[in-house]
Amino acid sequence: MALYKSKGIVLRSIRYGEADRILDLYTHDYGMVSAIAKGIRRTRSRFGARLEPLSCVDVMAYSGRSLDTVTQAEVLRSFHGVREHLGRLEAAGSMVRNVRALSGGDEGDRRVFNLLYRSLETLEERGAGFKSVEAAFGLKLATLAGYAPELEACMSCGASLEGTEGLLYYAPVLGGILCADCRAETAEAFPLPPGTLFGLRSLVSGPVKQAVLEERLEESARRVVGAHILAHAPAATSLEPRPRVRPA
């Protein structure tokens, strides 16, 4: 049983058995890790509040056959300012769900860790615009995972989207925008309020710390990001029908 040590951010924490919790952590060095923290729910547990969701910790664990076991945790940054505010917590909730959706069984990517850290830091520091941070995070995460949304040309006819008259549509499965003429290409395309495309591009190109959308655009940007990630998550693609005959 190998002992290892890494920085990690707690994505999720599920009650298990009498007093334990099973944690999903995104670690700096090994990507997604699931580990059990034994006795953590007892009031006298030596872990205390160190492994609450969203905490960034220096964690020591040994790997087991199916599940690792946490032996030590030190807080690097607790992000309790995010946990103690409903608006921030909701944005962070969707961020960590997206990390779990897009990093099933992959190798670790320290850029994902760094992006998540910076985004939590941004949420904690600002007093408004949480959904903009959530959307910017999702777009950058999808790009790191190799599913960057196409925001330059129509996915069907290839027409440039500059100065296009009429509404634009987002097609999650195609992973990009459809012009008004091509909107019937897939049934699940939905319209974007004017200004959304410009907003999405600004989120993609700028740093998370500067992610600010007009309030009226925040909801549609979130919808684009949520639908895009759902359509490209490894967990979602595994639901597609498998080929009936398996090659020998």
Binding site: R83, L86, V96
Partner: protein, 199 residues
């Protein structure tokens, strides 16, 4: 291939469905029952049946009871102006044992988890708001667990009853009595400082 007679196998299977009972323990308990006196086994069977037949949630506070309303709700000596909101019925036992609380309860049925998508509709928060409106409640003590989901629940409840003029309090958090300061984590110790009191 079953190793034991079918009724014994069945008992082992049923027992191993219980929380924190693995196959080894299930086998041990099953053989204890097989070897033991019949009255003991019938007593256990009867208790299991009785609890399923007779216990239901109190229609006012959702504590477990045999009646329409639980004993706590029916006790006129209790202070009906205060409601303590807890996650699960067994939290009521823990609070009652302190002897510090004389108000009523409300069992939420869990905690809000924005991280896993557990929404307010999954809990009995609307029922709590209705009670506050109907019972003229003066204070809600939110006694959810002191962790992310418990505290998110407390914040949400405070937001929901903001307009109703009811005081919302949460349990103090800080250092566990009997522990050493040096083992406290930063968040817990920080809370303890924020909530310090004059002697």
């Amino acid at each position: 291939m079953a190793t034991y007679a079918r009724p014994v196998e069945r008992l082992i299977t049923e027992l191993s469905r219980l929380p924190s009972i693995g196959p080894k323990s299930a086998q041990r308990i099953a053989f204890h029952v097989v070897r033991g006196r019949p009255e003991e086994a019938y007593g256990l069977a009867e208790a299991l049946k009785e609890v399923k037949d007779r216990i239901r949630p109190c229609k006012r506070c959702f504590n477990l009871t045999e009646e329409e309303e639980c004993e706590i709700c029916r006790d006129s000596r209790r202070d009906a102006a205060v409601i303590c909101a807890v996650e699960d019925p067994y939290d009521i036992g823990s609070i009652e044992r302190t002897g510090e609380y004389r108000g009523l309860y409300h069992v939420l049925g869990g905690s809000l988890s924005p991280l896993d998508g557990i929404e307010p509709e999954d809990l009995r928060i609307a029922e709590l708001v209705e009670r506050v409106k109907g019972e003229g409640t003066e204070e809600i003590v939110v006694a959810t667990n002191p962790n992310t989901t418990g505290e998110a629940t407390a914040m949400y409840i405070a937001q929901e009853v903001q307009e109703l003029g009811v005081r919302v309090t949460v349990l103090a958090s800080g250092l566990p009595v009997g522990g050493d300061l040096e083992y406290a984590d930063e968040v817990t110790l920080g809370r303890a400082f924020a909530g310090r009191r004059q002697l």
